[in-house]
């Protein structure tokens, strides 16, 4: 049976391997260049100079990275939370403002980022909100919402409602049903929504540029503003360090380790 199961998945395995190759080719090249003595993309010889630069002369980069990571974690969490709740609410119920929320929460996906950025900036000004990490957090949560909502919604699609009804029949309250039935079943969707939101937040430049305040710069802002004088391979070094860090973090506890490698 084993050989036929491998054969069965031939096409999907091929697609998966192609995808991984596609994703990791530039990553490996980028890591390679972080060890390049030359700052150009032509290999000269092995050197750790960019790592030395990173750990000794790049305080502003680390600050920017901390801001990015903090914002990504918080805005992804909040948008996933709000998106999940809303997806649940809109899937099984009908109410007056449902259509409004469906349309309004879908719009941030469509409207060009630069328009969202400028409009938020103007509004913060009118509200008297000082630009800073909070405004960046608000902006990021806002544009991650449609992603979180749609991913969890598509996960809920064709959810077997009988399970939920059974829970109610057994006397569970709404919250108990939510936490013990709906959320666990939707977990892959929630995780997917969270991962997408983190990725979007870490990478965002345009919207962040407009709503970040003095001193609350994020990593993409720094990197794009380096273009005029040359993007240094210090960024490559930083990226490698981040990847290693993320991997170590993911596998750091036995619990996480087992969850990731679970069958």
């Amino acid at each position: 049976m084993k050989s036929s199961s491998l054969k069965r998945h031939r096409i999907s395995l091929f697609a998966f391997c192609t995808t991984i190759a596609f994703f990791y080719a530039p990553l490996l090249v980028l890591i390679l260049f972080s060890f390049n003595e030359s700052k150009t993309m032509n290999w000269s010889r092995f050197s750790l100079r960019w790592y030395a630069d990173l750990f000794m002369h790049s305080r502003d980069l680390w600050e920017a990275f901390c801001n990015s990571a903090f914002i990504a974690a918080t805005s992804a969490s909040v948008s996933t939370l709000l998106g999940t709740l809303a997806a649940i609410g809109m899937y099984w119920y009908n109410f007056k403002f449902k259509k409004y929320v469906q349309v309004a929460s879908f719009l941030p996906l469509i409207i060009p980022e630069i328009i969202i950025g400028v409009s938020l900036l103007i509004m913060f000004g009118v509200m008297g909100l000082k630009l800073g990490l909070f405004t960046v957090f608000v902006a990021h949560t806002t544009f991650c919402l449609p992603y979180a909502l749609l991913i969890v919604s598509s996960r809920l699609d064709e959810f077997d409602y009988a399970v939920v009804e059974a829970a109610y029949d057994l006397g569970a309250s709404e919250i108990q049903t939510l936490l013990r039935v709906i959320v666990p079943v939707s977990m892959p969707g929630i995780i997917a929504a969270f991962l997408v939101s983190v990725t979007l937040s870490l990478e965002d430049f345009v919207i962040t540029f407009f709503v970040a305040g003095p001193g609350s710069s994020t990593l993409p802002l720094h990197v794009y503003s380096m273009i005029r004088f040359g993007v240094s391979p210090v960024i490559n070094a930083l990226s490698f360090v981040l990847i290693v860090g993320s991997v170590l973090l993911a596998f750091s506890t036995k619990g996480l380790y087992k969850y990731i490698l679970q069958k």
Binding site: S38, K39, T40, M41, N42, S44, H57, R59, D60, W62, E63, C66, A69, F70, V118, L121, I122, F124, G125, V126, K130, L131, F209, F210, A212, G213, P214, G215, S217, L221, H222, Y224, S225, M226, I227, R228, F229, G230, V231, L249, S252, T253, G255, L256
Partner: protein
């Protein structure tokens, strides 16, 4: 899991605490990355016992869009010449009292004479002056004319780029025809458009973001760009392989200026900073780092490295000034060029 979260939180809090409130006065500068060397900023912090918060932007346009939409909190910004005049007209700048900037006298009067966008320096103090030119990879291109005509060479097809910037490209075309880079004459602009369409056939692409990296990697052999970008991306041991020149017809020039925003909260500190920048020893350090032509006469005594080009090289280049309403016309022509009509 909880342990991990706790560790991360502690780490972040530690970093945040180490960066925030030292109780010192702060100066907020908004500029390009790397445009002010780190040691110059740290020395200022030590000398005046303050903290500099340095934020960055990738272009004048982005900076202006943000400030116009209501962002505030910055004391010093470094706009280029056309944006200085725009910001003056939009009432965004604080008038400068030059008597508070004694080092202003060190600035080359020839440079000051070229300043038409802020006559009398009522709102700005020049920081750096430069011009766009052409960089050629001599190992790939043996003989070439030091002129904009290089872009007419079909033998270099697909190995050349020009900037993705309508003022720079149209400005180059206007200059090559002998017109002004600030021309608003539709006939002149139409001729310039034809010139650019001719160049476009030989270009690989219009690029303002990866041309220097591509040039350094050998992707492109001839690029229109800025010396600071090309030189800094190139291997410092191999710079003899390339030549950066300002074409003989002249090109576009720019002056980046230090300005104080109208709603700046630390105006005195801003004055101290501007004065500090033009301290001859400090300015010399900056020039050694950036390799720009030196516009501070006294600082020339202290520079140790050669600039990429001199002020005399850009004598024939014209400052790109604000063209007001005609920007629409330029935009229309540029979009037509880009789409290929």
């Amino acid at each position: 899991m909880k342990k991990q979260v706790a560790i991360i939180l502690c780490f972040m809090i530690a970093v945040f605490l180490s960066c925030s409130n030292s109780g010192k006065q702060k100066l907020f500068i908004y500029n390009w990355t790397y445009y002010m060397p780190d040691d110059v900023l740290r020395d200022f912090e030590k000398r005046f016992n303050v903290e500099i918060v340095y934020d960055v932007y990738p272009s004048n346009e982005d900076m202006f869009a943000k400030l116009k939409s209501g962002a505030s909190g910055y004391d010093i910004v470094v706009p280029s010449q056309d944006y200085v005049s725009i910001m003056i007209k939009e009432n965004m700048l604080s008038p400068l009292d030059i008597s508070k900037i004694p080092n202003f006298k060190n600035i080359d009067t020839a440079v000051l004479a070229r300043i038409t966008f802020d006559k009398g320096n009522k709102f700005s103090v020049p920081y750096m002056m430069g011009g766009s030119g052409i960089a050629v990879n001599k190992t790939r291109v043996a003989k070439y004319e030091k002129s904009w005509n290089i872009f007419n060479r079909a033998d270099l097809k697909n190995r050349m780029t020009m900037l993705d910037d309508m003022r720079e490209v149209l400005g180059a075309a206007l200059r090559s025809l002998g017109y002004s880079v600030n021309s608003t004459n539709p006939q002149e602009l139409d001729k310039a458009k034809q010139v650019v369409l001719g160049w476009k056939a030989n270009l690989c692409k219009f690029d303002a973001e990866a041309f220097a990296k591509g040039f350094a990697a050998g992707e492109f052999w001839v690029v229109q760009g800025y010396a600071e970008n090309v030189m800094r991306e190139y291997d410092s041991t191999k710079t003899s392989e390339i030549e950066f020149f300002i074409p003989k017809e002249g090109g576009t020039a720019y002056i980046d200026n230090l300005v104080v925003l109208k709603d700046a909260k630390h105006k005195d500190l801003a004055y101290s900073f501007i004065n500090y920048i033009h301290d001859p020893k400090v300015y010399a350090k900056i020039i050694d780092y950036l390799r720009y032509p030196c516009i501070n006469v006294e600082a020339k005594k202290f520079t140790t490295k050669k600039s990429n080009y001199e002020l005399s090289d850009i004598a024939n280049s014209e400052l790109k000034n604000d063209i007001g309403e005609s920007l629409e016309l330029y935009n229309k022509i540029w979009q037509e060029i880009r789409v290929g009509r």
